[in-house]
Symmetry: C2
Subunit: 463 residues, 2 copies
């Protein structure tokens, strides 16, 4: 018996050792506070409903491929016909296409028929009209039952880089240091000023999680099919003639930029104007450009029009807080999103009570957005969409962001105003979201782990 | 033999298992990219040199206890007599005392004879004169051989909370939501405006790594020994009469604020004026209030006067980026610092070439500071020390911070300006340091792991 026991131990120890090593390795790859596995995503349906029907017991999963018919370029609008109608809890796979693909036709457009079709621009005209903003947005998605005053939760279930049309193992993204960048008027080296495109390459198989620079070139005047010469990057979707530029391949040698996949622009249609420039973000979301809106996070948007009319685009392989030179690593991404509708009447007494700004939930934090103007369309009147570019500043953006975080801690966490201000001073961090979109952004981050779960208000019931 | 071998394995497996568990546990507490173990700190010398002598082969370790003789209250000055003279590579243990101890005499002053002595203020006068700023700073430390143009590296070897004079297992810190706070003019609840003190308790044994609120009270007019009534927190070191305030103990119940020990103010003496207000930070460091300056980090300061004249204080148990309501969790901390002098002539060709701003190195990142005015004393002339409070803004602070990060990437990392701007846009983060000190701050963070070590310039040789 003694021998037997000893032998059992002999076998148990190696097993214990191996198990511990495996657990240790697994734990070291798990970011702290990682979100629990989300609900299984059902298989994709064969056809997309464009009108609201009866809800099924289980949520459905639809796919919206990018095409000239499913994208709108440069604006959000309450007047757009939806590309799909979904019920609360449904999933949608949404293909988004970068508006910087023209910076390298061969790598970012050629061989990808959807992108070719969307970018089509001949002397006869464009396949997709563009403006007043620059972003290609896929949608809108009509969320059945959504009404002004509700809150639309959009869960980012998955984000995948779109493979290059010429080589499915690779993909590319473009960073444009452009005239709207924060240091464009403050360059050291000649020629001044100048715009510069840096092209980055990523692994489309998902194995390597970094971007590396392939080359850079200085912008030269480009002629579009309408005969207009563009001395700067002053319109969307210009196909750069690579015979006119000088590529410098000795660029950022050895530098590996960690990927932070996200969509720069996701939002619902605002109610204030028929056509709203896609560039400045606001209460309805839009071009928030917060690099934290990654896989496993959820955005909450105040619904402003019936059906909410959600669109997304401006995908980024990576971006730093600030988006300093004008753009991120602009690329095309296919995302899986789940839409959860929270009716206004269900919000009282929950953590989402009083949320009237775009709110981000990550696995380990709540992130409250603020802007120079919380609602610039309302605040600046008829000329809002031009004035906003002259009036942007971080000081009022921090004012708005910190007031919103105060409100979140009071309404959602049940703190008094004095408790809220002390806590957000000693335990919350304010970062610069972007300073290049007009209506500059500041976001406040409060970690979930600070709170005793027993004192935190519940989330609304998902219906 | 077989039996023997088996027995050896029997003993080896448990040992391997235990070792693996220990390693795994240790690794889980180690942040990614933690700095390698620093040089062993030698034992403390019995006496402190006040003049420069011959350097010893091995670095020495001195201790500067806080006392009315070793602190200066409210200012940096090139005219202060040093409390100690050290050589490059020497260590100094520096006791720092919070200027908010008067918010709760019993918990933060009583029984601690050094703090009692420093705070002594009777009808006959003060033990230590105060102003024009508010911080109690310990020093200055004279660094032998330091001259204008050199760079002083200050390594933060250790930081420990100073135990309460009444109970050595506990310690306390005060957060003042004060009139200089960012939302003081934007309160929701009555009475408006109001100042609020929130007292936090921490574990002085180092076991628990969080702060929890004990109570809060609203500021009431306080009379100082000179007979002046202070309706607001308008002078440093007021001892609050707790018979005049109403403590609310139901404050932030269940909330645990993670500790982020750091000194809000560390710096060298500026050359521009004889007495410089301790509140606004600038090129010489000072009240930077960056919560990232913790154990295992190093600050680099441009030396402006002979001997550098380093002082430190304004210790924080924790602070969020922004320091929104006016202060952090203000507490007393004893730190161990190593001083490394980098002579100007040694900087060319190194990663520190061209650094003329306060630079922070953490185990995994380089953090570049910027302010509304890089050097407000020079830029704003004779009235700089009053004007700075009216002129602070985040927009120029980001301009300065991002220009400094561009310069760091060009000079220190050998990038071209175009490479630098692209990289800092897609791979660096800009955060709000503070908006309550005058000369508001923004810091830019670039992760070390982005770079191929083979392409990074060396650090200067430590002499």
């Amino acid at each position: 018996m003694i021998d037997f026991r000893r032998r059992r131990w002999v076998k148990t120890w190696p097993a214990l050792f191996t198990a511990t090593v495996m657990l240790c390795l697994a734990a070291s790859f798990l970011p702290m506070g990682m979100t629990p596995a989300s609900e299984a995503v059902p298989p994709v349906e064969r056809s997309n409903p464009t009108a609201c029907g009866a809800r099924t017991t289980a949520p459905r999963h639809y796919q919206v491929a990018a095409s000239p018919d499913t994208v709108h370029w440069g604006f959000y609008s309450k007047n757009l016909a939806p590309v799909i109608a979904v019920n609360s809890k449904d999933f949608v796979t949404l293909e988004t296409i970068t508006h910087h693909a023209g910076d390298d036709y061969d790598r970012l457009i050629a061989g990808d028929h959807a992108i070719e079709a969307i970018y089509s621009w001949t002397a006869d005209g464009k396949a997709v009209e563009r403006g007043p903003g620059v972003h290609i947005l896929t949608g809108p998605v009509y969320v059945c039952g959504a009404e002004p005053g509700d809150l639309l939760e959009v869960r980012v279930v998955d984000l995948k880089l779109r493979p290059s049309g010429m080589d499915a193992t690779k993909t590319y993204g473009s960073n444009a240091a452009a005239w709207w960048g924060f240091q464009y008027d403050n360059l050291k080296d000649d020629p001044k000023p100048r715009e510069v495109i840096t092209l980055y390459e990523m692994d489309a198989t998902g194995h390597d999680n970094y971007a590396k620079a392939v080359y850079r070139y200085q912008w030269t005047p480009q002629t579009t099919p309408d005969g207009v010469v563009h001395d700067t990057i002053d319109t969307a979707g210009i196909i750069v003639d690579h015979n006119t530029v000088t590529k410098i391949t000795d660029t950022l040698k050895g530098v590996k930029v960690p990927l932070r996949l996200h969509l720069g622009s996701m939002g619902v249609a605002p109610s204030e104007a028929d056509i709203v420039d896609s560039i400045p973000p606001s209460y309805f979301g839009g071009n928030i450009d917060n690099r934290n809106i990654g896989i496993g996070t959820a955005m909450y948007y105040p619904v402003a029009v019936p059906g909410a009319l959600f669109s997304g685009g401006d995908a980024h392989a990576s971006q730093g807080d600030g988006e300093l030179d004008g753009t991120a690593i602009e690329t095309s991404i296919t995302g899986v999103f789940q839409f959860i509708l929270h009716k206004q009447a269900d919000l009282d007494g929950t953590i989402l009570e009083g949320v009237n700004y775009p709110l981000l939930e990550t696995p380990d934090s709540w992130i409250v957005h603020g802007f120079t103007y919380p609602n610039y369309l309302e605040a600046l009147g008829e000329e809002a969409q031009t004035k906003i570019y002259e009036l942007s500043s971080l000081d009022p953006a921090l004012k708005n962001s910190s007031a919103n975080l105060r409100d979140f801690l009071m309404n959602g966490m049940g703190l008094s105003e004095d408790e809220a201000f002390s806590l957000m001073t000693v335990g919350a961090d304010f970062a610069i979201t972007q300073v290049v979109d007009g209506n500059w952004g500041v976001h406040g981050i409060v970690p979930k782990a600070i709170f005793d779960p027993a004192t935190v208000k519940p989330k609304p019931t998902v219906r």
